[in-house]
């Protein structure tokens, strides 16, 4: 990626991060659409021998052989039996029956996590700079589990099964779907086995935002990653015949519009289809479109497809207006014709012009790449949101990372829009999604693993979470672009990742396999259900009081809907116990609480913890005492431990 290394402080603090020799011992396994091994991001110059612990291999197949792997791309496998069993043989004219990526997504995610340094990277001149993965010295192993027809659970599970045997250190899965109890959730089951082997599993939170309860991959042993913006934009003005200019974004490169205003029309007025405003295939009337810029509404079909539909109907340009659910979020695309994306508000203003003018005209002015955009980051509207629908007492997502307009490696066989008619070849592409934020965290976790090889996956996640930020340097709260208001822990979890601080968190909330088994006991899972998740013969102790509230999680979600029982008295107190492990110098940490509001009293006991040595553990209890509130009320606060050198922060969400 370009820009994210600077945005995250990696480049400015390179000396703080582990030597490349140490980082190159770490292997990131990426479960996706495969890999385009010819990408410069897989150049292995300067990398030493493959780690001796590595057991994986480079599988051969259609358009892929063992020589496609090197000291950077050390493993490539593909899993298609489930896919083939359900949908029939792979059509090799459309997709390679091998680890080769014919989609681009897998190359994008794997290079984001651990791609090598590539100078002069850009997409059609946009986002130009030096591209690198977050852990640019780490090794990459790809597990192709996604095909044109989707990602089948039998294939994903086998991929994870092999990755554990291969000895990956971090797993990155930018995929998901639906939610179910952990013992029915294949990714949760696979991730539990990985966690047992000390492998950190990072998963995308999903793109179903801004709706509440829209998260995927919520198991507490998974690191769940939402998406935020960078401080970078690609402005493209919609300039109207009335002299007014409206800002939008675009990655279009090609023949510009004529050097004059051109006729402008609303798609909804150039169609006989009821949904013609969406520019769906076959809905526009070419006679009404020819030679004009067309305003299309966002939704239902792909944004880039709308541009293609306008182009094939004879249109010369497109203005794409957000729907209400997209808020002010602008996602840039490398459209096949001159096009710009505008906010819903701007779209409405432009529509007012279109509907009030007898001969409306417009043009689009492309302004390239701009950096330093503020505020940034802001939570992406599409990023899935809490509460956690499976276990409300576990706050999810865990963290957010860059996921909007991210440049990274791309497959050479597919154009930047991914459309069949897009015959352009690009080495890098700019796309958006929690798919893009997840591998950022996977790569950063690999860096932490290299710096602290003895840390558990839980400790690494804790370091990432407790050092994340949810305020800008100005002190203003981080914004949610869906609302334009401050975002909440249900949107950003612990906040935006800050890898430099995560290197030295001071204290961590560690978690062991036994802690997670206790958590399953607290959920009142049967012995069979626990065995489904753990494969082991764990039994819950009937004399022991298990509580979900005592899972040593780096965040707090207090739910008065479940677990705590009905509110029968005026106030109800819920207690959470946590244990902090010192991973820094001896020191005394004092607690400070940002209260969720007058209706919730938060007390921490003890208020001070003194650590004499490294790895020393100390526990504390938080009591949340709340009066009854209307259901669906959510309040948010924060608990911080500080020794004046470190801040170990935890978000608090209280819901009724």
């Amino acid at each position: 990626t370009t820009r994210t290394p600077e945005f995250l402080g990696l480049d400015q603090n390179a000396n703080l991060f582990p030597e490349s020799k140490t980082a190159s011992e770490v292997v990131v396994g990426v479960f996706d659409t495969g890999v385009w091994p010819e990408s410069k991001s897989f150049d292995d110059s300067g990398l030493g021998p493959i780690p001796s612990s590595w057991k994986g291999l480079c599988e051969t197949g259609n358009n892929f052989n063992a020589s496609n792997c090197n000291r950077k791309l050390i493993g490539a496998r593909f899993f298609s039996k489930g896919y083939v069993a359900a949908l029939g043989p792979i059509d090799e004219s459309k997709e390679s029956n091998s680890p080769r990526d014919d989609d681009g997504h897998g190359t994008h995610t794997s290079t984001t996590a651990a791609g090598s340094v590539v100078r002069d990277a850009s997409l059609l001149g946009y986002a130009a700079g030096t591209a690198r993965g977050m852990a640019s010295s780490a090794r990459v192993a790809v597990y192709k589990v996604c095909w044109e027809g989707g990602c089948f659970s039998s294939d994903i599970l086998k991929g994870m099964d092999m990755a554990i045997a291969d000895n990956v250190n971090v797993m990155s899965l930018s995929l998901g779907g639906g939610t179910s109890d952990y013992y029915r959730d294949n990714i949760a089951i696979g991730a539990f086995a990985a966690m047992q082997k000390g492998i950190l599993v990072s998963c995308s939170a999903g793109n179903a935002g801004p709706s509440s309860f829209s998260l995927s991959n919520v198991a507490p042993w998974i690191t769940t990653v939402g998406a935020g913006t960078l401080d970078r934009d690609f402005p493209a003005l919609a300039s109207l015949g009335n002299g007014l200019n409206y800002s939008g974004v675009s990655l279009f490169k090609g023949d510009s519009l004529p050097d004059k205003m051109v006729p402008f029309i609303y798609a909804g007025n150039a169609t006989i289809a009821t949904n013609g405003n969406l520019c769906m295939p076959g809905t526009l009337i070419p006679d009404k479109i020819k030679g004009k810029i067309v305003l299309c509404d966002r939704g239902v079909n792909a944004r880039v497809q709308k541009g293609s539909v306008v182009k094939s109907a004879g249109g010369v340009g497109m203005v794409l207006a957000n729907a209400a659910s997209n808020g002010d979020e602008l996602v840039a695309d490398a459209h096949l014709l001159p096009a710009t994306a505008v906010t819903e508000k701007t779209g409405n203003l432009i529509k007012n012009y279109l509907f009030s003018e007898s001969n409306p005209t417009a043009t689009i002015l492309f302004q390239g790449t701009k950096v330093g955009i503020e505020p940034s980051p802001v939570v992406a509207a599409f990023s899935s949101r809490g509460p956690n629908s499976i276990t409300p007492e576990i706050l999810k997502p865990d963290i957010i990372a860059p996921g909007v307009n991210i440049l990274a490696g791309w497959a050479g066989s597919v154009g930047p829009t991914g459309l069949a008619e897009d015959t352009r070849h690009v080495e890098f592409n700019i796309i958006s999604g929690t798919s893009m934020s997840c591998p950022h965290v996977s790569g950063l976790a690999a860096l932490l693993k290299a710096a602290h090889p003895d840390w558990s996956p839980g400790a690494i996640r804790s370091a990432l979470m407790t050092t994340a930020y949810s305020q800008y340097k100005t002190g203003k709260l981080m914004e949610d672009i869906a609302t334009g208001k401050p975002s909440t822990p249900f949107d950003h979890g612990a906040g935006h990742v800050d890898p430099v601080s995560a290197l030295n968190p001071g204290l961590v909330y560690d978690l062991t396999v036994d802690d997670y088994v206790d958590f399953l006991c607290a959920l009142k899972y049967t012995a069979s259900e626990i065995k489904l998740v753990t494969r082991g013969n764990f039994t819950c102790d009937t004399s022991k009081q298990y509580s979900v509230n005592n899972l040593n999680y780096p965040s707090f979600a207090v739910s008065y809907q479940t677990g705590s029982g009905p509110i029968t008295e005026e106030t109800t107190t819920v207690k959470h116990t946590r244990t902090l492990t010192n991973v820094g110098l001896p020191g005394t940490y004092k607690v400070s609480v940002t209260s969720p509001g007058k209706s919730v009293k938060v007390t921490v006991e003890p208020e001070s913890l003194s650590f004499d040595k490294v790895n020393q553990k100390m526990s504390y209890t938080v009591s949340f005492t709340a009066s009854s509130m209307p259901s669906n009320t959510n309040l948010f606060g924060r608990i911080e431990w500080s020794d004046d050198k470190h801040i170990v922060g935890s978000p608090v969400a209280v819901s009724w």
Binding site: K81, G150, S154, D161, L175, A193, S528
Partner: protein, 82 residues
Amino acid sequence: DGERKITYIVHMSKSEMPVRFNDHTHWYDSSLKSVSDSAEMLYTYNNVAHGYSTRLTKQEAESLEKQPGILGVMPEVIYELH
């Protein structure tokens, strides 16, 4: 359609494997053959689960689920990229 086959992931309780089996894959195979003569294993899982995936009818899956040593018979889920 009772004859339609879909993929299931069969989770087995390895500690309940009868002593007459030397190898867990033989046990898996035996369990599968007890409900279907034609079904074959797509994959066996060793690290993320003890079990295998296979194509079964709904009735076959229900029958398999009732057998001793079976923890669960989960239908395939299709995930999507984010």
